[in-house]
């Protein structure tokens, strides 16, 4: 039993890393812009398929697939912000309207992917997957790489936000948009920056996920839910929160498998989120909004 738990715990930590990356990719957009960007789920789909097309169809090396995926995701994120959210903001519509537009975008996008790519899952290869055994615990090189890339990315983004001029501008707009405007920090430009950053991170997560699993048109929503959960559980705008929440989510989902069916996983993750929202509405590490 102890061995099983240890294995599940390691699985949990590795999933947790991916969840944290997913969470941060959404959190940074939401905490800076206040937009409930449901359509972010499309980023994962776009990234997964781009990588597949570039690597599997065109036969190019996997790193190029990653780059192409990130580029496609950033482009998509920008298109959504400029083409849909910004015009609505200018009209001054309510939050509900923007939310529904985001939903519509997601629905349309996924259906489009379904039509273009057909609902058959596509594999993505090009990564040498080997098993690593440490005692009774097994994990793959891919899982390890995913975790490492996730944490490094999160670290990188954290430092970027802390040290660079544009990073601070992002934090400023998220913290006090009115004063940011007074100081000449253009809101629209920062929004574009944040959408690019969030989409790029989402693309990374999407490709890593596809490597381990498959790309299919409806992969977006199952990946966006952990992003939401991690964001609100950890606290909007909090990077330590994202990491903590990601790990908690990963661990609880996996450890619970020692006793419960995997079907229960989604229920459990949402039950945990509900508990946190009810008990600590601002998230574990407090939130800006």
């Amino acid at each position: 039993m102890a061995a099983l738990l240890a294995q599940l715990a390691v699985n949990g930590i590795m999933w947790g890393a991916l969840y944290s990356l997913l969470g941060l990719s959404w959190n940074i957009i939401y905490s800076t812009t206040g937009i409930f960007h449901f359509a972010h789920a499309l980023i994962f789909v776009a990234a997964g398929y781009t990588a597949v097309l570039v690597t599997m169809n065109a036969g190019l090396p996997l790193p190029l697939g990653f780059i192409a995926a990130v580029a496609a995701a950033v482009f998509l994120g920008w298109a959504i912000e400029r083409g849909i959210y910004r015009p609505l903001r200018i009209l001054g519509v309510s939050h509900i309207v923007i939310f529904v537009a985001s939903l519509g975008t997601l629905i349309f996008g996924e259906a489009l992917a379904h039509i273009i790519f057909k609902p058959f899952p596509r594999r993505l290869s090009g990564f040498p997957v080997e098993a690593i055994n440490i005692g009774a615990i097994t994990f793959t090189t891919l899982q390890l790489t995913t975790s490492v890339i996730s944490f490094i990315t999160i670290l990188g983004v954290w430092q970027y936000l802390k040290r660079t001029k544009s990073g601070k501008a992002i934090r400023a707009v998220g913290s006090n948009p009115e004063m940011a405007e007074v100081l000449g920090i253009g809101r629209d430009r920062v929004f574009l920056l944040v959408f690019a950053l969030g989409s790029a991170m989402g693309a990374l997560a999407g490709v890593l996920y596809t490597l381990d699993s498959v790309a299919h048109p409806h992969m977006g929503i199952p990946l966006i839910f952990p992003a939401f959960i991690v964001t609100f559980m950890g606290g909007v705008g909090s990077i330590p929160g994202v990491v903590a929440a990601g790990l908690i989510l990963g661990l609880s989902e996996n450890l619970s498998q020692a006793w419960l069916d995997s079907d229960y996983m989604v229920m459990i993750s949402f039950a945990i989120l509900l508990a946190v929202i009810i008990l600590k509405p601002r998230g574990l590490f407090g939130s800006r909004r």
Binding site: K165, K168, A172, S175, E178, A180, V182
Partner: protein, 231 residues
């Protein structure tokens, strides 16, 4: 004239707040706007700064028509604005706040930071602290530091002494006078504390219900003896 407002009207789509006022400020001059709450003082400043789009009229600065310019354009042009409240980024440190004030600055900001620290030594002391931990007076200094770092030629200040103890107010106004004396900065400030306004400013505009009802030299206004009718 350094800056001039002509027939300036500002408001929201439903409601005009400032009705066609005219104002001028000379280079290196300190001018104050006083008046009751809701008279349109803050709205005037916001209209100049471009936070609110003017509905009518013109703003001329250094000979250039800057009506409706965005805040970014105004900052680059040499105008800075300090709002009445909520003007810091609470989760960020003092230094980070100042860095953000220097967002539009192209050259090296360290020398500029030094000047700000000389003006307000307490900011240097607390430079690594989260700005939310600062007291009211310290926040006000931080806010001023943030907008001074761009070396503006015109300062728009919305009730800079609000909520400050009298001693701090005196220090603050002294610092402002120093800045004007050293750099030739013009200052247009909205004030609640009428005495300070009249003592500190060379000229005072009195606003009531969205219009200017009086324009007077500071000392002359002091000698008036009756001020309730202005409000």
């Amino acid at each position: 004239m350094f800056m001039e407002l002509n027939d300036f009207e500002v408001g929201y789509s439903k409601k005009v707040i400032v009705h066609g006022i005219s104002m001028r400020i000379g280079e290196g001059e300190i001018v104050s706007i006083i008046g009751h709450n809701g008279a349109g003082k803050t709205t005037t400043l916001k209209g100049i700064m471009g936070i609110l789009r003017p509905l009518r009229g013109k703003v001329v600065f250094k000979g250039q028509d800057i009506t409706g310019h965005s805040p970014l354009e105004n900052v680059k042009n040499g105008i800075s604005f300090l709002p009445q409240d909520r003007f810091i980024f609470p989760e960020l440190s003092v230094k980070e706040n100042l860095d953000l004030g220097a967002y539009t600055v192209e050259d090296d900001i360290n020398s500029r930071l030094e000047i700000i620290y000389q003006l307000f030594p307490i900011l240097k002391e607390r430079s690594g602290q989260r700005s939310s931990t600062l007291s009211g007076g310290e926040r006000r200094m931080l806010g001023l530091g943030m907008i001074l770092i761009t070396r503006p030629q015109l300062l728009l200040l919305d009730e800079p002494s609000l909520g400050l103890a009298p001693v701090l107010v005196t220090t603050l106004l002294e610092s402002l006078r120093n800045i004007r004396d050293s750099f030739g900065t013009s200052i247009l400030l909205v004030e609640q504390n009428v005495r300070q306004a009249m003592e500190f400013a060379q000229r005072v505009y009195v606003m009531k219900m969205g219009s200017i009802i009086l324009e007077e030299k500071g000392e002359k206004l002091l000698q008036r003896g009756e001020w309730w009718d202005l409000f």
